[in-house]
């Protein structure tokens, strides 16, 4: 594939309290790529995601989204959608207001229409006028995903997006992620669930102690042996 990279991370380093949490990580995702990132707790996956989203500044290295540095360009951040561990919702606002707020911040031409479409995508349009704080964890996760999708991002960063979702929610999410990928978006999917991750992935990586210890194209992997290899890596080193 020769298309322009949607995201290019080069030599990312980030430390907390003298410990390198992300250590010289590089990867490139082009339109339609999905990198499934696996790793034990504390491997640095969430920190890497926050670096790519521009929420953290790297000590070294750069992240470019469509050629623009994520730390310096609003144009780069406008291309990114983030689903995080936390819901990033305001509990006092309704579901609709939360998603509309994101639509306005990202400059959607018609925020109400965009918000309604995103909520419908995740099957929560009937909860639009419900305050976010009164929703269950699973429904909050659906709204959080709708919030991240409202501006049709070209790069979608998902940190354990299936957490808390029921079967219908998981299916809706897989469908949305597949659809976004087919529409030319790139995905960075952090998960502990190898089956879900590999189902969407075009690349897979295992992260341990801040580094990519394995990183390869999905078609080169045998899912059945990958599972046991991953467990060995996670168990031996942590």
């Amino acid at each position: 594939m020769t298309s322009t990279p949607v995201v290019q991370a080069e030599g990312l380093v980030r430390s907390f309290g003298g410990r390198r949490v992300v250590d010289a990580v590089s990867f490139t995702l082009r339109a339609g790529d999905c990198l499934a990132l696996f790793g034990p707790n504390g491997a640095g996956k969430t920190t890497l995601l926050r670096l790519v989203a521009g929420l953290l500044a790297p000590a070294q290295g750069t992240v470019r989204v469509n050629g623009v540095s994520i730390r310096e360009g609003a144009a780069a951040r406008a291309q990114v959608g983030l689903v995080s561990h936390a819901s990033m919702l305001y509990g006092a606002l309704t579901v609709r207001e939360n998603v509309e707020l994101a639509a306005r911040l990202y400059g959607c031409a018609e925020p109400s229409v965009a918000a309604h479409a995103a909520l419908a995508l995740m099957g929560v349009e009937d909860r639009a006028e419900t305050p976010a704080r009164t929703l269950s964890r699973g429904l909050q996760q659906r709204v959080s995903i709708a919030r991240a999708m409202v501006h049709a991002p070209r790069l979608l960063l998902c940190d354990e997006p299936y957490t808390g979702l029921d079967d219908a929610g998981s299916a809706a999410l897989t469908e949305v992620l597949t659809e976004r990928r087919e529409a030319g978006a790139a995905l960075l999917l952090v998960t502990h669930n190898l089956t879900e991750g590999l189902a969407l992935a075009t690349q897979a990586a295992i992260m341990r102690r801040g580094r990519f210890v394995r990183h390869e194209a999905r078609e080169l992997l045998d899912p059945s042996s990958y599972q046991s290899q991953y467990r060995e890596l996670a168990a031996v080193h942590d």
């Binding site: 521009g54 995080s84 819901s87 990033m88 305001y90 606002l93 911040l105 400059g107």
Partner: protein
């Protein structure tokens, strides 16, 4: 997708969101309001009218209560962002961090103006101050004091919110910076309450104006660095 909002438009989006949250919950506003009214009442009953004239005491009472009631509101300014890491939604959006600061400051300004709108009449009533034409000038002093307070307080609220002792740290950081505001506001309003011409208050008003210009600019420029982890 359209253009991402510019700084002023983004500030307004952030301010509107904060005001909507405060309007729904009303917790911080009611707390600050009750605190302010109780403060006025307690000061009134502790006042010996034969020893100190109302016009001498009232300005101090007003601006001390305003400062502490304002702090109650400023505490919640960034607290609401941390509950579910909603701040990440703002930081990840294609808006400048200056816009986040200005939006937060604008919402805080509405908040403290609301407190002042109740506290000033309460002080005037309790101390039986002869106000009429001077009320417009006092409103102007209040506006200048409020701008200075929220400029500094919003910045320090962002700095303190991630710490374990945020409720202690915000007053500790802010109060030294509030001294020029309290002095300027108290001295200029004392002259008005004593029935002196506004020209006598002008040196103190200049301090308030200068404080506002310097700190609104400095805090807007400094704010982007306060949110980096």
């Amino acid at each position: 997708m359209g253009e991402a909002p510019g700084t002023l438009a983004a500030s307004w989006i952030v301010a509107r969101k904060d005001l909507a949250i405060e309007f729904r919950t009303r917790t911080a506003f009611l707390s600050a309001l009750v605190f302010a009214l109780l403060g006025v009442t307690i000061f009134y009953f502790a006042w010996d009218a034969t020893a100190v004239a109302a016009a001498d005491l009232a300005p101090g009472v007003l601006w001390v209560i305003f400062t502490f009631a304002g702090l109650l509101g400023l505490q919640r300014s960034f607290g609401s962002e941390l509950a579910d890491r909603a701040i990440d939604g703002l930081l990840g959006a294609p808006i400048s961090r200056e816009a986040i600061y200005l939006g937060k400051a604008l919402a805080n300004l509405v908040f403290v103006s609301g407190i002042l709108a109740v506290t000033i009449p309460a002080v005037v009533l309790f101390y039986n101050l002869p106000f009429g034409p001077g009320i417009g000038a006092l409103a102007g002093i209040a506006a200048l004091a409020a701008v200075g307070l929220v400029a500094v307080g919003t910045l320090f609220s962002a700095m303190a919110v991630n710490t374990r002792m945020a409720e202690l740290l915000l007053p500790m950081l802010s109060l030294p910076f509030f001294v020029p505001i309290v002095m300027g506001a108290a001295q200029s309003s004392a002259r008005l309450m004593a029935g002196r011409p506004i020209a006598e208050a002008w040196p103190w008003l200049r301090i308030l104006v200068a404080f506002d210009i310097v700190f609104v600019t400095a805090c807007t420029l400094a704010f982007p660095y306060t949110l980096d982890e």
